[in-house]
Amino acid sequence: MKNLVDIHNERCIGCTRCMRSCPMEAIRIVDNKAQLFKERCIYCGNCIIECHKNAYKVYSDSFANLSKYKLNVAILPIAIYGLLNNKDDLGGICATLKDYGFDEVIELSGIYAFMVDRILDYIKNDDKTYILTHCPSVTRLVTKKYPQLLPNLLPFNPPFEIAGKVYRRFFSEKYQIPENEIGISYISECLSNFIVIKEDIDNSSIDQVFLLSDLVRNISYKKIEEVKAVKKGIFFAKIGAFKYVSNNRDILAVDGIRNVDTVLEHIDIRKIKNVRLVEAYSCTGGCVGGTFMRENPFVAKWRVNEFINELYDGEDFGIAIQPDDYYANEVTSEEGVLTLSNDFREAIKKMKRINEILTNLPNIDCCACGSPSCRAFAEDVVKGLKTIEDCRMRKGGN
């Protein structure tokens, strides 16, 4: 399969920014160019946000593919509310999308609102600390780094997956078109949503993914139609929504992938107790901080608040959602991506070698060698990715 994310070698200057921002140490600089190690990546998008040379290329779909389907449905991400000045703007965005060739444009607040009660019901069953699965990066982090917390993940699909299933059925009935002739496109606000859909496109309810940043550039803010939105769901564009709408004290909200990592660690060693649900988002501010938002997350949060004030309570969603739509397939552990070797004794040997190499390194984590820390560099030497001469600050070196 073609890579979904690539690096423009002519743009990359090997500055180490992306590498240092990566929470999984999945990036190295080799021959002055960034290189991604896919098996470690959790698609948080920090690298893309940090890159000041625009060297990351994301391969989204082509609008030409829309002609393959009889009816095209565009799903707007919940973070879209962080870009709107008022309710008319939403109509403007719909108009723009229809110019691109979409027949129907829907947004996600109804799905988010629907899931609130499902989730609150589910976590009543026992006293585990559950982890919200709205953000695929968080799910990835659990499968790769905290496999022992897999039972703590809620068994629910992310909202865009649910929307894909629900609206495919809805529009198929409405227009009397077979389900497979409807093309569902998701306009993604972040890298993780984009990649989870594309990677498993055969099992996803979404057929194509476009990037929000590519679309909003050409928005005409002309009002054409009313778009139905459910107030309770719009809160989910930003962090802390769950706590707010459910008025529940034992929900912990955390944003930013490194903070999420710390919180998961605390849950793992049971340092955090009495928390029933962890509302975790990889991006700063929640979905409004997405990789392809092109708006400061705090400004976007403010816009969401402004937008919510314009809406009335209790707007009804009115489309049936079945348990099959929201229950997810079991997530499998990816234990082992962080280990030095499959063989325990071999791993200990390597660890010893790493420690020996480290004693000769400056331990200032300057990153000039192209590894994110001195320790990571020592690991890379043991793995054979680098040689000790690559360290420019080495004691006794040149």
Binding site: I269, L340, R345, M351
Partner: protein, 138 residues
């Protein structure tokens, strides 16, 4: 083949409390230990680290990994535990207000360590306390 790691822990350094345990977790994950065993070890190292931060004049933690077992040795520079039997009781705490204000000092540290380690040894004098923990790798 034995690998060892040493971590310094300072008195009342709440800001960095838990950092050593995070690192321990990282290294144990890298050698491919069972996640459930890692959890037990890290629970102990965290409790031990906090104990040193709260109660002692500072000390160090040593992690030793070999083919058959994981050992964790925590040694501080005093002032020692006057009554170990009492300290081993759940809920018994001598933590100062400064620790309790931060949500620590519930009196579960030593009992938790004993519960989660395969081998638990403790010795204390006014010159310092030494806790030795070990886990067998099956």
């Amino acid at each position: 083949m034995t690998v060892s790691f040493e971590f310094a822990v300072y008195h009342e350094d709440y800001h960095n409390a838990g950092v050593a345990s995070s690192e321990i977790k990282k290294y144990l994950t890298q050698i491919g230990l069972d996640p459930q065993l890692i959890r037990r070890i890290v629970i102990c190292s965290y409790e031990a680290e906090m104990n040193v931060v709260i109660h002692s004049y500072g000390g160090k933690m040593v992690l030793l990994i070999d083919d058959n077992e994981i050992r964790l040795e925590i040694a501080d520079k005093g002032p020692g535990i006057p009554n170990i039997e009492l300290a081993m009781q759940e809920g018994y705490s001598t933590a100062p207000l400064s620790a309790r204000e931060r949500g620590f000092g519930a009196g579960m540290g030593l009992p938790n360590m004993k519960k989660n380690a395969d081998v638990f040894e403790i010795a204390s004098s006014p010159q310092g306390t030494v806790v030795k923990l070990a886990w067998v790798i099956i």
